[in-house]
Symmetry: C2
Subunit: 159 residues, 2 copies
Amino acid sequence: MMTKSKVQPLLVNYKTLEEFKRFKEYGNQELAMLEDLEGNIVENDSESPFYGVYYGSALVARMSLYRVQSKYDKYFTPPQDYLELWKLEVLPDYRGQGYGKDLVDFAKSFELPIKTNPRINSHDFWEKMDFKKANYDVERDLGENPLIWLPSGVEERDV
Amino acid sequence: MMTKSKVQPLLVNYKTLEEFKRFKEYGNQELAMLEDLEGNIVENDSESPFYGVYYGSALVARMSLYRVQSKYDKYFTPPQDYLELWKLEVLPDYRGQGYGKDLVDFAKSFELPIKTNPRINSHDFWEKMDFKKANYDVERDLGENPLIWLPSGVEERDV
């Protein structure tokens, strides 16, 4: 029987930033965090928007999660705080073991609507997670393919 | 000597939407355009945010371009209208012939700042096009890796 993996917040430190290099979606965000740490703009072990799952001492899955304030909400009705989820990724050797679902379940546990802009070819996964395509609106979405998850009592806004 | 390819606006019609299926970045945007056409919500041959290059009668390269109003500008100083560029793509058999550059040059010809959120592994191309990384700001950029191009007289805003 599979035991539930423990999703934990990731703090900004050199060890975590080094582990981030093993993930495919390493970009400006991680580089900015490293520069802030090196320049003492953020303290060691300060909060980051990342959450992760460890297997032993190795980070094997992660996602970024940010709470967007209701005044910026263009997706849901009634307008409310929601979570933007991105960089959900499980390292290749650890796929198919439920770590992705664990991370998404953790995001859902806040009981806020969730929005994500998935990578190409990940739609089957998001469908299993009960996410659905938001209606596309060019002015709002531009190059995004937004998917949303609605907790009970929340609906998608008309575009 | 290479002749300059002709970049042209793409109109919403069944032929164009069929040609879009050959591009890798086919997503919600194209499906929404198709639904709008089928549902008579938009007229045949109405404007789209896409521009393309034809080789003979075949669409071989395209991009989407949208003018964002200055009141939404979070990237440039002074705040101003800018172009969001996405889905720049040249079909595999037609790469290395300057079509991508032709599309970007066309975007630059409006003399507005340009912002794009590039796909992984396309940074060399964007660097050749004189785009540079915007400073990353988690609250503004979330899962994006914004690149910007500045016409003369325009600067990046501090984050």
